[in-house]
């Protein structure tokens, strides 16, 4: 059933009890044309675009837990495209353009809100780095502008621009089209739209092995719900990519780290935009429920614990209290962690692997939510055609051998 004014009215009259399930939950079939491993936003988007753009509908998405229960449902939902290098700006801008029309495309409100993302500069080095980003972005046709402390304060009145604080704000970059979206809605919207086009969404189904034929090519997968034959397998498993790829004997240039976030008790609207500071490891926005959403950095060591250290959160909260003194008395409601897959150059890996039929889309690390639509779109193309989408080509696994790294450490070290 489509979401339309008429249907919303009709359902309201029957106490909203007549809405059908949003996606089918079928038993896994014995064979598919393509199996996508990982039911986060990226995997579900991949399946959706496989069906919509490439006519592949014998597709299954396998999720070991529940949809979006990985990083998709744990992230702080910051969207922006002002990355430094042309390859990255093009990829993230492709995603941002898709965000702009996504609710309509999916007939599902993903609550994309272009409220502006501001990145603070606190010292001379920051100013140089941030201004370099602004100039590079403007040359690449991506909006990004430099603000004085006064202009930053006018855009975000909560900011403390006093020169007397430990890390005074000396300027900021602002991407006005950046903002936030509703994380769960992204997973659910893509799942619903993919399912409507024939994709099987299979939850509580963990892939446990990758089967290969005599030539070494992929012939199927084994799961906790039985074996499935498929000549094409796309791995979109975020923090668990190294573990999953090891099933095919493929080593990855990845390390998995805990990354945490926390939210405060809900308050009246007071924060009109997203503010982040790379140098003092803090960022904050306000959800539509009213909670202040605060993100911290990763822990120092790799781990699958899905729990960040308390001293990491404390470090962030010290910075938050200094930048936004008005929130000092707020109580924190929840604190949680995810497992993020980090590459040496902080850029994702999208494309083929040494195993024929096996594709991988990973390494989005601390900042891949913003890329969800673009990532799914270019990965679907890569899988369907067997060769990389032009925007994905620079992000091939082979770039580490070729030495063509895309170093976004400055853009992505902490910030999202």
């Amino acid at each position: 059933m489509r979401f339309s004014f008429l249907n919303v009215m009709r359902q309201a009259l029957s106490h909203n009890e007549g809405w059908p399930e949003q996606w089918r939950s079928p038993e896994p079939k014995a064979a598919y044309d393509a199996v996508i491993v990982g039911g986060g936003g990226h995997g579900l988007a991949t399946a959706y675009y496989l069906a919509r753009e490439h006519g592949l509908t014998r597709v299954a998405v396998l999720e070991k837990g529940w949809l979006g229960g990985g990083n998709t449902g744990r992230n702080t939902t910051i969207l922006r495209s002002n990355y430094l290098w042309e390859e990255s700006a093009a990829l993230y801008e492709h995603a941002l353009k898709l965000w702009e029309g996504l609710s309509r495309d999916l007939n599902y409100n993903v609550m994309y809100s272009a409220r502006g993302v501001m990145m603070l500069a606190h010292n001379v080095h920051d100013v140089q780095v941030v201004k370099r980003h602004v100039h590079a972005n403007r040359l690449a046709g991506v909006d990004n502008e430099w603000l004085t402390p006064g202009e930053a304060k006018a855009f975000c009145p909560l900011l403390n621009i006093s020169p007397a604080i430990r890390y005074p704000i000396v300027g900021a970059a602002l991407q006005r089209r950046g903002g936030t979206a509703r994380h769960d809605a992204v997973a659910w919207g893509y799942a619903r739209a993919a399912s409507a086009r024939g994709v099987d969404i299979i939850q509580n189904c963990e892939m446990t092995a990758i089967r290969r034929d005599a030539s070494g090519a992929v012939s199927g997968v084994e799961t906790t719900r039985g074996a499935i034959a498929a000549k094409t397998v796309g791995v979109v498993a975020a923090g668990h990519t190294s573990v999953v790829m090891a099933m095919a004997g493929v080593r990855m240039p990845l390390e998995s780290y805990p990354l945490q976030a926390l939210v405060s008790e809900p308050v009246k609207p007071m924060m009109p935009c997203v503010v982040m500071s790379n140098i003092i490891h803090a960022y904050m926005s306000q959800s539509d429920k009213g909670e202040m959403v605060i993100g911290a950095g990763t822990d120092a060591y790799n781990s699958y614990s899905q729990t960040g250290g308390l001293h990491i959160a404390e470090h962030t909260l010290e910075a938050i209290c200094e930048l936004f003194p008005a929130v000092r008395r707020l109580r924190m409601l929840r604190n949680w962690g995810g497992v993020v897959d980090v590459t040496p150059d902080r850029s994702p890996i999208i494309g083929r692997t040494p195993v024929p039929g096996l594709y991988v889309n990973c390494g989005w690390g601390t900042g891949g939510f913003k890329a969800t639509p673009g990532s799914g779109h270019v990965f679907a193309h890569t899988i369907a055609r067997g060769e990389p989408h032009p925007l994905a080509a620079p992000f091939a696994l082979d770039r580490f051998r070729a030495g063509r790294l895309i170093d976004e450490a400055a853009a992505a070290a902490v910030a999202h």
Partner: protein, 98 residues
């Protein structure tokens, strides 16, 4: 926060006294000029990143300043052994895991 036993100081100290040094036993090729692209790439960028038993390096930056190795379970984050560089990796029974 981890409590990390430094084998040099023979003390258990909080994590903030230490800096993580990445995966242990990644050996730098003795003659970098003679290394193949594949082996060089492997040395620079590829890591085992296991879910379970993991050998890693730590440096006691706010203590003795020295490097050492630790065996940790990356699911429970429990430290199972600590040993000095050059010593063989101790045998441990993995205690938690999927």
């Amino acid at each position: 926060m981890l409590l990390i036993p430094c084998p040099w100081c023979a003390l258990e100290r909080p994590e903030i006294e230490f800096r993580h040094g990445g995966e242990a036993h990644v050996v730098r090729p003795p003659d970098p000029a003679a290394v193949s692209d594949a082996a060089g790439t492997e040395f620079l960028y590829f890591r085992s990143n296991p879910k379970g038993l993991y050998a890693e390096r730590w440096r006691h930056v706010s203590g003795c300043g020295r490097f050492f190795n630790v065996l940790r379970d990356t699911v429970s984050d429990r430290i199972l052994a600590a040993y000095k560089p050059g010593e063989p990796q101790p045998e441990v029974a993995r205690e938690v895991g999927p």
